[in-house]
């Protein structure tokens, strides 16, 4: 088994970690969540959540990966033997997210091309559902050729990046695409704030609704958002940190990554709400009637707005969808790196073998499911269950396995961070990870489960929810146990501690 790669420089790791954290959610989720939860007042719970859950969990991910030198299953096993199963849960969650994320990435890529000619015409909603996705009624496995070709191209690009490994693949990709994203999105925001009605949108985004601060759901939304936005608690940051050298300044780098992610979100909020303000002014409606988030914002609302701008809309459309594609591509690389690295570590596979098998199987499943006329149903249901049950459960387990059930390990981790990092952690960090972070996640999980059990999700029929929702959760659980029990390469068990040859 070849030696483990390292990032070529600290900047390479930071750039890749920012590329992972800054994704579709920063652009289409944060502005909407913020607006719905108190506007300007949302920044208070957001900053509190960042300080009490975001950074503490980010540092925990970093130290687990860097100290134990592996993707989640191997790193966790070397830290606490019984925790390997949690690592495999996270790996399977990432694998499933990668499989459907490729579909959304395909849509963003193809809409970048459509934006040049504003191909969606006068009715973007009908274009998206009927013409582009050819969305059928119920479950329809009929193939949509254009979706299949797009998906094939996206997977070819992603696997090409992954074959390059850490330095020549992931790091190089982020060094090219993160500056490109900043330039494209920066120009888009610059254009957006000059639109008529932009100030109306910014008023809606920043005007505080202080009464919302008394609503626990707002605080929960802040914790939920920070957690998803920073790519923490689901194995990505553990994996990326495992390629750091033994002297890496963990907390110093973590602060830059976390603040860079939040800075991009604020920029996204300003850009998106300026455009929504333009729409409100153009149609004579209040911003509250034109606001939306997620897929609805990107593929329906934005095309509608672009169409009302004439030629100027083409530039904003290309920049917006291009930014979505680039932000999604760097996140996709980080998501896929988790299972690729995990299989290398556990089974002693070469990097190329792992990319071929893990990436190949993922690509085939992705092409089979998301080239169909039910692609949006699969994306919607799998995304909801994978995030709200899969990611949150994995994060809770990864935290409490250490802070609640193996407390002495926390002292070792704290000592390790403080020996090599410029910003020291102490009892406050332990307190956050023992009480605040797990409790906020547990409450969020219980509310999600209660809602799914009593109301179901999205009005989909029971079979769809059972197979593509709860069925996916069952795959996480069953797969985690099977992979934990699978015979491993010898290197998986022992920890040659970061070039020192020390077994831990």
């Amino acid at each position: 088994m070849a030696g483990r790669e390292n990032w070529s420089a600290r900047s390479g790791f930071i750039m890749a970690a920012i590329g992972s954290a800054v994704g579709l959610g920063n652009i289409w989720r944060f502005p909407y969540v913020s607006y719905e939860n108190g506007g300007g007042a949302f920044f208070i719970p957001y900053l509190v959540a960042l300080a009490t859950a975001g950074f503490p969990l980010l540092f925990l991910d970093y130290v687990a990966g860097q100290k134990y030198h592996g993707a989640p299953p191997t790193a966790y096993r070397r830290m606490i033997k019984s925790q390997e199963v949690v690592g495999w849960w996270q790996v399977l969650v990432c694998s499933v997210i990668g499989i459907y994320y490729a579909a959304v990435l395909t849509w963003a890529g193809q809409y970048t091309l459509y934006a040049f000619g504003q191909s969606w015409g006068a009715d973007p909603e009908a274009f998206f559902f009927s013409h582009y996705l050819q969305n059928g009624t119920g479950l329809d496995f009929g193939i949509v050729p254009s979706l299949m070709i797009g998906l094939f191209i996206v997977w070819a690009i992603v696997l090409f990046i992954m074959y390059g490994g850490i330095q020549k693949g992931v790091e190089l990709c982020n060094k090219i695409f993160i500056p490109l994203l900043l330039v494209m999105f920066g120009i888009m925001v610059f254009k957006a704030v000059q639109l008529d009605g932009a100030s109306q949108g910014l008023n809606a985004f920043f005007t505080p609704n202080w009464e919302k601060m008394a609503d626990p759901k707002v605080w929960l939304a802040a914790y939920g958002h920070v957690f998803f936005s920073m790519s923490i608690g689901f194995g990505i940051m553990v994996t990326y940190a495992s390629y750091l050298k033994k002297n890496a300044n963990l907390t110093g780098s973590g602060l830059v990554v976390g603040f860079a992610n939040s800075s991009f979100e604020i920029l996204a909020g300003i850009g998106i709400f300026s455009v929504l303000g333009f729409m409100a002014a153009a149609t004579g409606k209040p911003v509250s009637e034109v606001v939306s988030g997620g897929i609805g914002l990107a593929f329906i609302a934005f095309p509608k707005i672009i169409s009302t701008m004439g030629d100027a809309g083409t530039i904003i459309g290309v920049l917006f969808f291009g930014s979505l594609f680039v932000a999604g591509l760097t996140s996709m690389a980080s998501i896929l790196q988790v299972p690729i690295s995990a299989f290398e570590d556990k089974f002693g596979w070469s990097h190329k073998k792992s990319v071929t098998i893990v990436g190949g199987v993922s690509a085939v499943i992705s092409l089979i499911l998301f080239s169909t006329k039910s692609a949006i149903t699969f994306v919607d249901v799998i995304d909801h269950f994978a995030n709200n049950i899969g990611v949150v459960t994995g994060a809770i387990l990864s935290i409490i396995w250490v802070t609640w059930f193996n407390r002495p390990v926390m002292n070792k981790l704290m000592s390790h961070i403080n020996a090599i990092s410029s910003v020291k952690v102490g009892q406050g960090w332990l307190f956050m990870l023992t009480i605040i972070t797990p409790l906020s996640l547990i409450v969020a999980l219980l509310l999600s489960v209660k809602s799914l059990l009593t109301e179901g999700y999205g009005g989909y029929d029971l079979v769809t929810q059972l197979v593509f929702g709860w069925g996916v959760v069952a795959v996480f659980a069953l797969g985690a146990f099977i992979l934990t029990k699978a015979p491993a390469h010898a290197s998986h068990h022992e920890h040659k501690s970061l070039d020192k040859g020390e077994n831990v």
Binding site: R10, F206, A419
Partner: protein
């Protein structure tokens, strides 16, 4: 923009973008420690 919204926007920008600038300055001033200074049990 109204005064309150403008004020909140400036505070948010100062807090978040200011945090980014300060953390970059901090990181530049604190390069990774030398390999031989990493404690042997780490």
């Amino acid at each position: 923009m109204n005064g309150t919204a403008l004020m909140i926007m400036l505070i948010a920008l100062v807090a978040i973008w200011g945090g980014l600038i300060l953390s970059i300055i901090h990181l530049v001033k604190h390069p990774d420690i030398d390999m031989d200074k990493v404690p042997s049990d780490h």
